[in-house]
Amino acid sequence: MAETLRYRDDQPVDHPAVTVDAFLDQSNAAAVRIEPGDDARELLPHLGRLSLVEVNFPAFGDGRGYSSARILREAGYEGELRAVGDVLVDQLAYMRRCGFDAFEPDQQLDKDDVQAAFDRWPEVYQDAADDRTPIWTKRHA
């Protein structure tokens, strides 16, 4: 198992994430795992009791998880949002912009490459789930 990259100061949740169906059936779980076909909006009524949402990427080319992440952040979710699975270094910056703040890749990532990925973009063109100011806002500030 590769190392989890975590960009949060709080303590990680210490129990495993359950499926969305299991989460909706039971009231005590604080960690859930979203699969690509799951509807992230089903979680919205329960955000208050969630501390960890894992978004699974079984294959890196399946980009549904990016929308799931942004939807949760747009709804005000502030807990840990972790991308797990086929998470590659060249996707990290985009994932971060969609609100992910932890990454649990199947394959260990090179630390220098990870740093380079997060340092890559001097600016951003559009609004997303992070707090970066888009170019078009800066131009008219």
Partner: protein
Amino acid sequence: MYKYDQYDQAMVDARVEEFRDQARRRLEGKLTEDQFKPLRLMNGLYLQLHAYMLRVAIPYGTLNSQQMHALADIADKYDRGYGHFTTRQNIQYNWIKLEDAGDILADLAKVEMHAIQTSGNCIRNISSDHFAGAAADEIVDPRPYAELLRQWSSFHPEFSYLPRKFKIAVIASDTDRAAMRLHDIGIQIVKNDAGELGAAFYVGGGMGRTPMVAPCINAFVPLDRLVTYAEACLRVYNRHGRRDNKYKARIKILVHEMGAEEYTRQVEAEYAHLLEEGVEPPFAELERIRTYFEDPLFEAGAPEEVDRSDPDFAVWVDRNTVAHKEAGYVSAVISLKPVGGIPGDATAEQMRLMADLAKDYSFDELRVMHTQNIVLPHVRKADLHALWTALDEAGLGSPNLDTVEDIIACPGLDYCSLANARSIPIAQRISERFAANGKTGTLGELKLKISGCINACGHHHAGHIGILGVDRKGVENYQLLLGGSEAEDVSLAKITGPGFDENGIVDAVETVTNVYENERQDGERFLDTYRRIGMNPFKEALYG
């Protein structure tokens, strides 16, 4: 023309460094080909039949002479002295080395160009009307909206791993010169009864193996909500588009299977949500972009008369120049369809000449047409003879715009690893046939489009006459289609019947034009006659 500021330049420069780093990791073995492929594709780098191929973006088809010179220099320095202009207003080079790709992107960045998102399952280069800013019939220049969407879609964090590629076209006239309704999203800038500008959204069109004409899902999106509406369209697609079968992954299949009404309902719900999120750029940004697309300083009272005493010149003027909104000016089309030539190819020398002529005669501006020709958008009528003389000497004076010789052809099996049959030789034989029998002019407007496989890069579904190359037990075979149009009278062509071999398809095209000549009524184009009399007379003549 749009000019980069320090922000745009910084983003393009960062992309060059990112790709250099990715290519390095691939060559060092840190990335497998499966991992690298989507990354190189998002920088326009394919692995084609003979080598890597690089597709360079020409946003909304507009470029200046310095940029055209840079494209010529790349052709000479890194390729084999030529390039191929494509049906999405881009240019591609066929003989690129992976180890050079970073340097090419750096050369492009120096002239405010790039290859960002010219392939891959992301939002591709935004295309537009090649006569934008010049056409007499547009209500406004569509390119500022295309540029705004270019910025929005560049490195979009949520929409870079879509189910499939995503193509957007923007027009601003009722005449459609950009195949708008055959795009994933077609946007027409319109005016409402109150005189306000807005955007009509047509979603779910496309060609490929399942051609569809996009339905209008919203007839008027206010311009200060354009990006928000596009974001809603994309989010519904990213979440619900099919990912189980790449041949059913385009948005047209989603809209078709879900139904346009249900898709629209979901988009409207997402739109309402995103309006609260506030993802729209400040309206001042659109105003800023518009200032780059203001009219050049046209000469007031430029003379209208053209000396037509040279008959060859007069034919070229009649066929290859198009009405301009400004008196005394025209848009002049440089045909990249010489008889027997390769549609859309231009040598580095021809690119340089076109660049220099643009500088001398067209306010330093050129356009790439989706029909694989080049436009000088703003030419004084008084300069036409000098322009034509220079073009003709360089083999660029073919007077055949919108004729049977003005063929769209995909690269086909000569270059493309997806193709099943060659397209280019068929185009060559057809243009030679009609040049020889002298009918090019008398047949009038006749749009002939050839694809070498069902992916339809040669737009065969939208040809008045379409040709589709297929593989029949290892032998090239060509199906004939009739009745398509990519214009405002959009329709999808229908197949005539059994296919033909290489010689047979050229004869078949001549046969259907003979039927048209016998049946046409006054003023009818081939397409009009077909629509009036139907398929049967053509079938009868072909298979009788």
